[in-house]
Point group: none
Chain length 130, copies 4
DNA sequence: GTGGTCTAGACCACT
DNA sequence: GTGGTCTAGACCACA
């Protein structure tokens, strides 16, 4: 389904969330699709079930998926996604930090900006089609 | 000297590092400047000396400052900053992740890109003069 | 696991690092092995957990081990060790200094060289098998 | 007279000692030579007089130099040098550590040994003539 | 005075 | 349970 980098500093549940978000936003998992159960997914990616559960719970809170008792977990309509203000601010802050980091490393402003634009265009092409 | 946001998710020592990096890169603290001693800065910003030292240590490792035991800590020549390839890749990855995060939140691609450009221009104006 | 010399001039965290490096390089702790947790090792060798953590942190920075938050700390693949040029130069400088130190003490050149060769051969036999 | 690296991690008084030991052992400062006064040397190399004094005191303790009240400080006969056991052990330990460090960095045993021999021969030629 | 190391013990997020 | 961060305070060597 997707890959994790167990050696990354990013926590595992966040990696799971990001992977699923990407699949959902790119409509590789379209509205209504049944997600694997917590137990199945946890086996598939060799991760503690609690960790998967945490990812699912958080995704549900953010409106990406929903659960039907006894039936399973499903991809929600994109309209349901909460444009969580906190998450938004955090993402913007992340953008700012990453950009500054480039400048800290001695990259010239315009070069850094070009780099950023290049990355964004690549993302558009590669697939986070929305 | 600068301010901390104790409620932020960013750890204190990282905030100290980022603040100092900004002051150094903008040459508000030019090459050779003596930084406040660990103890002084810790009092100034009401933080434990160990926390300040951790920030100094890491900044030294990254080449922003250098230390003379018994004498103090000083701003290093910018040439000393390691254009660490790993750090570079990491920064680019960070940019990519942050941008994707925006898209995950349901922001339209072009809106996200505009946002990013706006942020970059703000950074340019505000002063990370290099 | 190993022993510390609390009376040594070498700081404790450095002794921990050197001991672990030796165990790793000799493959007594092969790739992937889980190291004792910070708390366990600290109890085992009667040292404060922070001190052990400092050693682990530095070993991670040097690429000998890696860490999975919440899971533990593991021996990294040797390929990960940075053949850091700076570290190399430093090691050579250390060799030079140590040798000069012998000469400063009034040891005859050939005697010092013999001593050095003897030490190197002992190291080969004793086990820093690579 | 000689140079210091203020940014080095080696303490200044040790650098002074090593420089003087080298000059003495190579007989560039032969037996009986008057050393500059603490005050003069401290000015010359822009260092706190206390630091120079500490170096002189330690050199005297080790038998490299001697002081005549009111007259100054002089280079001692090499026979007087105390083959301080502790210092000897420390030097040997340093040699061992530096060599191991090379191995840690992934250098092959024989390559490391060759390197060491090369360094020793260079030292012989370059001047620590004894 | 300076930085460097260490202890004792706390709280947090993650697995 | 795991590592990561932080506080409060101590002692040391060095300048």
């Amino acid at each position: 389904m997707f890959e994790l980098d167990l050696r990354s500093r990013k926590s595992i549940y966040e990696q799971i969330m990001d992977n699923l978000k990407e699949l959902i936003m790119s409509e590789k998992l379209p509205f209504g699709t049944k997600l694997p159960s917590v137990r199945d997914l946890s086996k598939q990616i060799s991760v503690n079930p609690n960790t998967v559960q945490k990812a699912y719970r958080e995704l549900e809170r953010q409106g990406y998926i929903y659960t039907q008792s006894g039936m399973g977990t499903f991809v929600a309509d994109k309209k349901g996604i909460r444009a969580d203000d906190a998450a938004m601010t955090k993402a913007e802050q992340g953008l700012e930090d990453a950009f500054k980091q480039l400048l800290y490393l001695g990259v010239d402003f315009d070069a850094a900006k070009d780099k950023a634009v290049e990355i964004m265009n690549r993302i558009r092409k590669e697939g986070v089609v929305i």
